[in-house]
Symmetry: C2
Subunit: 230 residues, 2 copies
């Protein structure tokens, strides 16, 4: 317990790559840095890798500082989840506006969500479903973001009904159903992306059946699933 003084280093001689102390920044700036670091960690290693020490290390800062900018880690995790997922929702919703008809919008929705380019976000969703059991703030964010997604899909379905392209009542339920299917298939792809050919095509057939659209009207590029002419 005696003589635990630290060895003193002459920092003025050290190379410029090592900083003794992080530069002092605006709270807004620092908060943004921390959020960005946490976002990257979540996408690369999962939400549970968001740790005071982990985030601090990536920012290049003491762990206490990260804690200083958040009430607690649970809130940080919940916030980062919302950031990541909301960005995806808005991005895809924007993409849909590109398409003229609801039919083509729904087709693009399925195509975009199933192209495998967003598996990192899928992993976040799956982890959030589990973590939400013990992180109430996160659970609330999950429900909120699910609702946002459902609203986007429901809008497309309703537009299709109005346009006479779809034949179904209960657009809300159909929207939930489509989302659930997409999530499940993507979660599956997380573990096992082989074994299923034409993921998008099969899903399109399923959605057509549910939505009351004609066979092959979604994803016209895909081959009809009946004849074995692969």
């Amino acid at each position: 317990m005696i003589n635990n003084r630290k060895a003193t280093l002459d920092w003025s001689v050290m190379s410029s790559t090592i900083q003794k102390r992080a530069a002092r920044k605006t709270p807004a700036e620092r908060a943004a840095e921390i959020a960005e670091a946490a976002r990257e960690i979540a996408l690369e290693q999962g939400l549970s890798a968001i740790t005071l020490r982990n985030v601090a290390a990536r920012v290049g800062v003491a762990s206490g500082l990260v804690a200083h900018y958040q009430p607690n880690v649970e809130a940080l995790v919940a916030g980062i989840f919302a950031t990541i997922v909301a960005a995806e929702t808005e991005e895809v919703a924007g993409l849909l506006e590109t398409q003229p008809t609801p039919l083509e919008q729904l087709g693009m929705l399925l195509e975009t969500l199933m192209d495998g380019s967003r598996l990192d976000v899928t992993a976040i969703w799956v982890e959030a479903w589990t973590l939400g059991r013990r992180n109430e703030a996160l659970a609330a964010c999950v429900r909120e973001q699910m609702d946002a997604w459902q609203a986007v899909v429901q809008r497309v379905v309703e537009a299709g009904i109005d346009a006479g392209e779809f034949e179904t009542f209960d657009a809300p339920s159909v929207a939930w159903q489509i989302l659930g299917m997409v999530d499940g298939l993507n979660a599956q792809a997380l573990v096992r992306w082989d074994g299923v050919s034409d993921r998008g095509t099969h899903l399109a057939r399923a959605v057509e059946g549910m939505v009351g659209a004609a066979r092959g009207s979604l994803l016209p590029g895909g081959a009809p699933p009946i004849s074995p002419d692969s």
Copy 2:
């Protein structure tokens, strides 16, 4: 470091509800006890609640003993996952043999899987998908059990094709697809079980579209989704 002898209690006087030492048992017996305790913990609190001390406490045993019966905790978790999920697969597969035709088998499959009575197992699945990222043994079990499930579904689909009830090629992909849809919808119900009415019915319509069965041929009890005569 001196005089750390424990206070000695006269256990012969203590009430019978407190045992000084767990009864000595056969390795097979003890291993079974440990497995059962771990299974219960997993179903009640999740796979990540499977802990040396947690399991030991439930069995009424020292934590070291649990460790003694397993190479490491990762293996225990993987094994318990396989136990739980395999039991469900076999149970449902047995149920299907009750039904005479593939159409009715598929209907019962959807009905059984979507009745909400297996949400605890669904939670295990979802957690395993995430935990598999850092537990290679668990990841292997997950893939194995997914294959087992897919084989069950594929068998039904192929039987339906042979019987002329279904019109689709590529039974393996369709089986994967059905599984993914069911998993996704159940995972959704884990967080949010409201908002969707007729989960089973909508799913049935979707599967009909994918499998090429006539509208309403699956789940004949359900109302057709077109006319708003709810």
